[in-house]
């Protein structure tokens, strides 16, 4: 019966439903994205206490070295960096040398520690051992349709239209299993490959006067340069001491991922909070429209209500009828809102993955916050239905009908 009444007043029911759906979807989508971003960023940042790199913006250094979604700040001298990599406070140090890219996927020169760090497991082939052998992240292999034994030529820098290095092809030795980390989007080789190809990147300015494609010199042992070093400490003391010492004594910069990510999230947080407030606003608005819809329909249905009382409906039944109508509307809005947010995220996920190397996982699962959201939606619905319901309770049958 509640259903039929709602269907009878299609237009206002529809309006309530749309408003509720929108409100719920916005809030739930934001909650999901926020949670997924945090999860993603924190899994990538796991076990990295500090990043050593060239002077510049610390946030940029973190974004480039840990997440590979920004360009690097510059290069640092490998020998200089090695001093710090061997520091007694350092438990683990992974050097990173940024090289070229292939079809917009970065080729990263590093050592075996890097793949270990992200728990990368081979799904096919073997790890790279010699120069110009590479291991592909799962997403790279799938997107570029590369298989073990195949060869490709990289392009200089990170753009698609960079100049191709035609002389040294990379050989695919292995493909990694999906790890849900940034590793999925990388092409990993040893550092020597990067150095050999570029003859130490800093010399580029010199070489560009010559022909750039002629880069077949042996690596210049003195001038080996890398882009950044990921460090893990074995002592909490290092968190305080090392960054200061490094910025005082060297021309390198040390950035702490935890601090920089907190900064990033507090910046993003303002936007998230604003959008969330808009979402709550829409929910309250939808509550109001549920109220108006029920109240208006009650005005028209005053006679109906009185009549139902005369044919045996108790006050309680009418109260429940109106409350049920409000509740059905809210539940419908809630469910479709939650579904809509998932659908939206499903479409966004592809873009996020491509542009920011962020993989959304387990986003189908309801969040704890969504429980509060559901409770709120139900409370809004009941509250909006309550006043009309109470009016239905106190309807004066005799008066209503004799005025009819």
């Amino acid at each position: 019966m509640a259903w039929k009444n709602l269907f009878h007043n299609r237009l206002s029911s529809f309006l309530c439903w749309v408003l509720l759906t929108t409100g719920v979807a916005i809030i739930s989508l934001l909650l999901l994205i926020e949670q997924q971003l945090e999860k993603q960023f924190s899994t990538s940042v796991q076990n990295i206490d500090m990043v050593l790199g060239a002077k510049g913006s610390p946030l940029q250094l973190i974004l480039s070295a840990v997440y590979h979604i920004d360009s690097p700040t510059g290069n640092i001298d490998y020998e200089e960096a090695q001093k710090w990599m061997r520091h007694p406070f350092v438990q683990k140090a992974v050097p990173l040398a940024y090289g070229d890219s292939y079809e917009e996927y970065s080729i990263l020169g590093t050592n075996q520690l890097y793949i270990e760090h992200y728990n990368g497991k081979l799904s096919k082939g073997q790890l790279n051992q010699k120069d110009f052998e590479v291991v592909l992240g799962s997403k790279v292999a799938a997107a570029l349709k590369l298989d073990t034994g195949m060869q490709f030529f990289s392009t200089h820098g990170k753009s698609k239209h960079g100049r191709a290095h035609k002389n040294n092809g990379y050989l695919v030795k292995g493909i990694l299993q999906p790890s849900g980390t940034v590793l999925d989007h990388l092409i990993v080789c040893n550092m020597e490959s990067v150095w050999n190809l570029h003859d130490a990147t800093s010399d580029h300015s010199l070489q560009e006067t010559k022909t750039e494609d002629d880069e077949e010199k042996q690596p210049d042992e003195v001038h080996q340069e890398i882009t950044a070093v990921l460090l893990k400490f074995n002592s909490p003391l290092a968190n305080i001491q090392l960054p200061r010492v490094i910025s005082e004594q060297t021309n390198m910069m040390a950035a702490m991922p935890a601090i920089e990510m907190n900064r990033l999230f507090s910046l993003l947080g303002v936007g998230f909070t604003t959008l969330q407030n808009i979402g709550w606003g829409i929910m309250v608005l939808s509550g109001l429209s549920v109220f108006v819809a029920l109240y208006n329909s009650l005005k028209e249905r005053k006679y109906e209500m009185a009549l139902m009382r005369t044919i045996g409906a108790s006050k309680l039944k009418l109260l429940f009828l109106v409350l049920t109508e409000g509740l059905i509307l809210c539940m419908a809005g809630l469910i479709s809102g939650l579904l809509l947010s998932r659908l939206a995220l499903f479409f966004f996920a592809g873009g996020f993955e491509k542009d920011y190397n962020l993989v959304f996982r387990e986003w189908m699962l309801p969040l704890k916050e969504e429980l509060y959201l559901s409770l709120f939606a139900i409370v809004v619905g009941l509250a909006a239905a309550l006043l009309p319901a109470i009016k239905a309770w106190f309807i004066n049958i005799s008066k209503t009908l004799s005025n009819g």
Partner: protein, 208 residues
């Protein structure tokens, strides 16, 4: 069988004192009087829609003046059929659903066949699946008789059932009412100022 004794009702600034009413099953009682004499008030008192200020009403042996609100709703649903001046129906339900609403609200078994046969007897069988807004006044008035009969009540109360109908429909509706009341062996009380009905029913009480 309905009996009332010493019924009184106070409106602010108005005081009604009603004559005692007695109507046995199968009988028809016409209550007449010009407007403002408390006809509708009396009907609402008899139907338990309005509690009297003084006096008692007993229907089929139950003193409805001593029932509480929800008992009264229950009793009314099961034992009293009321036909109002303006036929009101639940707009979102079709006629058949509107009729079966009566037994469902009175917690009785729902028999759609009873509803269809009632509608047929009243000559509106084809309208069963239409919404109330699609029916004419005369058809709605007949449908409200059908609804009042759904629970086979011992008492039928009709408030100006014919005032909005033309002469032809007036007579048909009045005859149908009496016919159905007799068939169900129910007491029928019609409250009206419609002179046309006086020619049809002879047992009359006039409110002064």
């Amino acid at each position: 069988m309905i009996e009332s004794t010493d019924l009184e009702f106070f409106y602010p600034g108005l005081h009604f004192k009603f004559p005692d009413i007695r109507c046995a099953n199968g009988q028809v009682l016409l209550v007449t009087g010009s407007s403002g004499k408390g006809k509708t008030t009396l009907l609402h008192l008899l139907g338990g829609l309005l509690p009297p200020s003084a006096g008692t009403i007993s229907i089929s042996g139950t003193a409805i003046t001593s029932l509480n609100s929800s008992e009264l709703d229950q009793f009314r649903g099961a034992n009293i059929g009321i036909i109002f001046q303006q036929p009101h129906f639940v707009a979102s339900l079709n006629m058949l659903q509107n009729l079966t609403l009566a037994p469902s609200l009175a917690n009785k078994k729902i028999e759609p066949s009873v509803a269809t046969s009632l509608l047929q007897q009243l000559g509106i069988g084809e309208q069963a699946l239409k919404k109330p807004s699609k029916l004419s006044q005369g058809q709605l008035q007949r449908a409200s008789i059908a609804r009042a009969l759904m629970n086979k009540p011992g008492l039928l109360l009709a408030d100006e059932p014919t005032s909005s109908l033309d002469d032809h429909n007036c007579e048909t509706v009045a005859r149908l009412l009496a016919e159905q009341a007799a068939k169900n062996n129910a007491a029928l009380i019609i409250v009206t100022h419609d002179q046309r009905l006086k020619q049809l029913f002879h047992q009359t009480i006039e409110l002064l």
